[in-house]
Amino acid sequence: MQQLLTGFVTAMDPINLLMAFLGTGIGIFFGALPGLTSTMAVGLLIPVTFGFQPATGLIFLAGAYCGSMYGGSISAILLNTPGTPASAATSYDGFPMTNRGEGGTALAVATVASFIGGILSALCLILIAPPLARLALLFGPGEYFAVAIFGLTIISAFSAKNMVKGIMAGLIGLLVGTIGMDPINGYARFTFGQLELFEGISIIPALIGLFSASQVLMMLDSYNSADDEADGSRVTTGKVRVPFRELMEMKMTLLRSSVIGTIIGIIPAAGGDIASFIGYNEAVRFSKDKESFGTGNPEGVAASEAANNGVTGGSLIPLLTLGIPGNSVTAIFLGGLMIQGLRPGPSLFTDQAPTTYAFFAGLIIANIAMLILGLIGASLFVRVLGVPGALMIPLIFSLCVIGSYSIRNSLFDVAVMMAFGGFGFFLRKLGFSSAPVVLGIILGPMAESNFRRVLQVNQGSILPIFSSPIVLVLTAISLISVASPVIMKWYEKRRAFRESQRRTP
């Protein structure tokens, strides 16, 4: 508690407050623009944090994460085009409200719901992460190997549509992770004599390439100059009014969706999009007025938005405690931590506790900033929708160049970013997901180094690690993780069936 209070004192420093608001504002900007995601927002802002104190940088990134999650709702509500996949369910009721002239009210509901979801999940992070990190103190190479394997089994969740493609993407990521000196003997692998490759592929340029530069190529492919000629800035919100009475009536929905979002966030691979659909579905299930959903019921907007912002705090729990990035945003966030010299695990809550607790406090402040900016600046953020794609495309690519260059002031990293951008573009066009590649790159070295340490300690045998209860539990969770796509498929089928029944008059 003392550490948290100290964290709040640090986070309330004027520069940190300013960065929380600035990060949140930029995040909302990114989230509101269809095609730009939370991953891109956090990834492209990492270089800005180089010159910051660690706490300031992390608070800035926390603002960007929360803001971009919420920002997607603006275009979902006003244009029926979700700014991020996590806001798809918001458009079901948000857009009909806009058509009725209640766009401002829908935005206010989305803002308040996002705030509640974000705050509750941040509180869960504060409560759950420290004890879980203390448990990680008991970990040796065997346990860390099991953690890495658990992280890698998440690949199966990304591969529900095509298991072979998912596994292939994961294997490619693992192979990329082997580039550089081998972790035990220091033998150079796949370096082709390039000194820059001896330390391995730099993670941030690779991630910026996979997620942002590839998106530039996708935008070039789908660009339509007629869209730029149509003036998007003419979209208006109407009066932004917070319907306090209606919000009070839907308090159980807000609470339920926030909890759903937080739990989904903790589960690796299940991100904001799944959380918002489940939150929305549960709101429909519990509602006495099921028929009103899909026709402009503010409760639908609240359910979806509380759930997708609930993911923010939850998804940081496995990242900060065990070093497992559960989704692409937290994978990028891991890069942000490492750049500030922070390593996920118990040390974050001991040696680095002041920074970590300032970050936790910053997450709460970022949610408050989101509430203020969302309510006051909604009409301003709407103008973002008028930014022409012909200008956004070169600007985003230029930011990709800065993002990859400024890590080591190296044009080699820019080349890495571009190579991964092209690779990511073809992956997406061929129906592969980029997320398993990222998991492979991050978790591969962790799995390999710990596996080989286990073999060294146990004279070439892996079996002794199964005497550890932690390894047994992690192995069981890994098996569940492999089975989860089947369970999710079953849930999706059930949801689609119910949806079709609900929409049939």
Binding site: S225, P394, S398, S406, L411
Partner: protein, 143 residues
């Protein structure tokens, strides 16, 4: 061409690269080669499975699905040219040129917006990165 779908072509390319990478690992010590070799064998097996099965029932992978190949190639070439221009002319000049050129290539007509973005963006980057954060941007090679 219809039989050689994009996904089959990609699978064949993966197999070729995997075999080359496996050949490279033959010169590595046993410990260092263990993981890469295992991964390459698995990757080759997965790629072979894709090669045999071809595109899925949803048709994804039949073609690359690029709607406007010319624009993507032109854009990619301009991105490459931009990085080369950074090396030659420095970040700021290259960025102003790149923003204006790509917007014009995409046939955006509002010239005053293009001019504002081309001049305003490098200025904003200078203020944020060089002035406030003290992070230097690439300078021209002749500087």
């Amino acid at each position: 061409m219809s039989k050689l779908s994009a996904i089959r072509f990609a699978a064949a390319a993966v197999i070729a690269v995997s075999l080359y990478a496996f050949w490279l690992t033959l010169g590595y010590p046993r410990g260092a080669a263990m993981l890469p070799r295992a991964l390459l064998v698995l990757l080759t097996a997965c790629a072979a499975s894709l090669l045999v099965r071809g595109p899925g029932p949803d048709g994804v992978g039949q073609t690359l699905g690029i709607q406007n190949r010319g624009r993507v190639l032109m854009g990619a070439a301009m991105c490459l040219g931009y990085v080369a221009a950074i090396y030659a002319a420095g970040y700021y000049a290259a960025s102003a040129l790149f923003v204006a050129a790509l917007a014009l290539v995409l046939r955006y007509r509002k010239r005053h917006f293009i001019a504002a973005a081309a001049l305003g963006y490098p200025l904003a980057i200078y203020i944020v990165f060089e002035y406030l954060l003290k992070i230097p941007m690439p300078l021209p090679m002749w500087y």
